[in-house]
């Protein structure tokens, strides 16, 4: 009998060790988030005089070869495939005709420390339409409401996987009322996915200020309403991580400056 017991000890021991490892995981608790919502933030809201507000604009270019566009495999999902008359391609890397990139998040990374900006009450919109997220990349301010819609005749789940905010995962059946969500901590970027349709991915950038933009069909961006000052502009792309990803720029009152970025595939 003893030998049989010995034989059983191995998996039991391994399981005990694994469970000990599992207990060591770290999570953000409610108290952490309450502190962020909190009271230590400066009380005075910075208001930018529209007469002196500066603008930073530019384009994001790519260098070298890019991975070819991949078709999304919706064929197995008639409820999704039926919503499109043409093939749908992944939005991970979307090059424009002028050697620029779409879906690049551009934001003021440094230079606004100590300033506090009013949180918009107007919600940002994240829609699920045609079994893709619209927009693919979204910028919001801390605690700005995000209105999440399901415009599809099929069930989705919305699952942000942040590192610095609380994770949640909620289902959205067709025709349900929109969900209103907020993100109380700064984070660039929060991936959002639908686990029902694993190709569906979106990214939300959460910032303590309103100075961000996402490149469009011509690869351009524009950040308006900046107080005069010296800033570091950062960019974020979900796949291309190398190249010129930050630029320093100084803008005087009412000045408009242009800065360009270049991204390339990791070597």
């Amino acid at each position: 009998m003893m030998r049989l017991k010995n034989y059983l000890c191995l998996p039991v021991g391994l399981l005990a060790a694994l469970f000990a490892g599992a207990c060591g995981s770290v999570d953000i608790d409610d108290e952490d988030l309450d502190e962020v919502d909190g009271t230590d933030a400066p009380a005075v809201v910075t208001r930018v005089d529209p007469a002196t507000a500066a603008t930073v604009n530019g384009k994001v270019y790519f260098e070298g070869d890019l991975p070819r566009a991949r078709r999304l495999a919706m064929d197995a999902e008639p409820a999704c495939a039926g919503l499109h008359t043409k093939p749908v391609y992944s939005e991970v890397v979307v090059p424009n005709d002028n050697n620029t990139l779409r879906h690049v998040f551009v934001y003021v990374k440094e230079g606004l420390e100590g300033m506090m900006f009013e949180t918009p009450t107007e919600p940002a919109i994240l829609d699920q339409k045609g079994c893709i997220y619209l927009p693919h990349m979204l910028g919001v301010q801390i605690n700005q409401p995000v209105r999440i819609l399901n415009s599809d005749p099929t069930t989705h789940n919305v699952h942000p996987t942040p590192r610095n905010n609380r994770e949640w995962n909620e289902s959205m059946a067709p025709n349900v009322p929109p969900k209103m969500k907020q993100f109380p901590r700064e984070e660039v970027m929060i991936p959002v996915k639908c686990n029902v349709h694993p190709w569906m991915k979106s990214y939300i950038g959460v910032l303590p200020h309103p100075f961000f933009s996402v490149t469009g069909a011509d690869g351009s961006f524009e950040i308006t309403g900046l107080p005069p000052g010296e800033y570091t502009i950062g960019i974020w792309h979900e796949f291309l991580k190398e190249g010129v990803t930050t630029q320093k720029v100084t803008v005087a009152a009412s000045e408009s400056k242009s800065v360009d970025f270049t991204l390339k595939q990791a070597s």
């Binding site: 998996p11 599992a22 999570d27 999304l72 059946a173």
Partner: protein
């Protein structure tokens, strides 16, 4: 203290086929679980124990994999309850009787872990634990099926091994379990593959030694040679599947995942891994049996008088 495995199954054979059915459904459950992971469907149903607040959620997208996995798991849970009761009523061997209750405890724990993985958003340690506990449960059910099988009793009483097998068989089973753990860590944490490759090397060396030793031995029961042959064939297949899944992952690295070929091959890799573990468990049980029978036979032989 009795150091041997129980040999007489008494009326335990009555539950043998039920244990085999439970083992088959457990294997199906492992395949269903691998499909959930492969298709990134683990959180497609955000609630637990119900699915979208219902027992019959919309069968769309990845919900099919996750809810299908839950349904098979519930069925295996019911089978295990029946099996544990049956073993308790019919089994006369104490350790095997306990095995039924242990299997039930493990399947309950596994269900709770499955719920935790959903409610805590797939924390990697819990997912790894869930994967390993599935294999542990499979081992337990396979053991119950084997210990109640006619093959277990048909074994020749006088069987003895010319080479000691039990330690090597146990080391091989342990290494295979460790390798499954390393594979689960690789899969659920996207960590480096090196530990899993080293595990494959260790398992291959031990399994080849074990299979060679079985075939070098004489007068072994057929169950042992069948298990050894199965282990050898499955191991070769598993190495090919591992290589194929790695190459497919590299080939589709910039594709929109999950890709069907990758899911199919990695699921087969998990499934064959479970079968290898089952074969090694049978080999370990059988080799202990051989040794205990050998000792029993030796104790029956009267001491040879020494000539002056």
């Amino acid at each position: 203290m009795n150091h041997s495995l129980p040999t007489s199954i008494g009326s335990a054979g009555s539950y043998h086929y039920f244990a085999v059915v439970t083992a088959c459904f457990t294997f199906l459950l492992i395949v269903a679980g691998a499909l959930v992971t492969g298709n990134e469907a683990g959180l497609s149903v955000p609630d637990w124990p119900l699915s979208y607040g219902s027992l019959n959620p919309p069968w769309e997208g990845n919900i099919r994999y996750e809810h299908g996995h839950r349904l098979v798991a519930a069925f295996v849970g019911l089978l295990t309850i029946a099996l544990a009761v049956w073993v308790w009523k019919k089994e006369t061997r104490g350790p095997v009787r306990k095995l039924g209750w242990i299997a039930l405890g493990v399947v309950v724990a596994q269900g709770i872990l499955g719920g935790i993985t959903v409610l805590w958003y797939l924390p990697a340690p819990i997912s790894v634990l869930h994967a390993c506990l599935a294999q542990t449960f499979f081992c337990l059910v396979v053991s119950l099926a084997w210990l109640s099988s006619p093959a277990w009793t048909r074994q020749r009483r006088e069987a003895s091994s010319s080479l000691p097998l039990n330690r090597l068989a146990m080391a091989t089973a342990g290494a295979i379990y460790l390798q499954l753990l390393l594979g689960a860590i690789f899969r659920h944490t996207q960590s480096g593959i090196l530990p899993h490759l080293l595990g494959a090397l260790l398992v291959t060396v031990l399994a080849v030694c074990l299979v060679a030793r079985v075939f070098q031995s004489q007068r072994l029961p057929s169950g042992l040679t069948v298990a050894a042959t199965s282990l050898g064939i499955l191991l070769a297949l598993q190495l090919l599947l591992g290589l194929a899944s790695w190459l497919l992952r590299l080939a589709t690295a910039d594709a929109v995942q999950p890709q069907f070929p990758v899911v199919a091959v990695t699921t087969a890799h998990v499934a064959v891994g479970a079968l290898i573990l089952a074969a090694s468990v049978i080999l370990a049980l059988q080799s202990f049996r051989v040794r205990s029978e050998g000792r029993r036979a030796e104790s029956r032989v009267p001491a040879t008088p020494v000539n002056p």
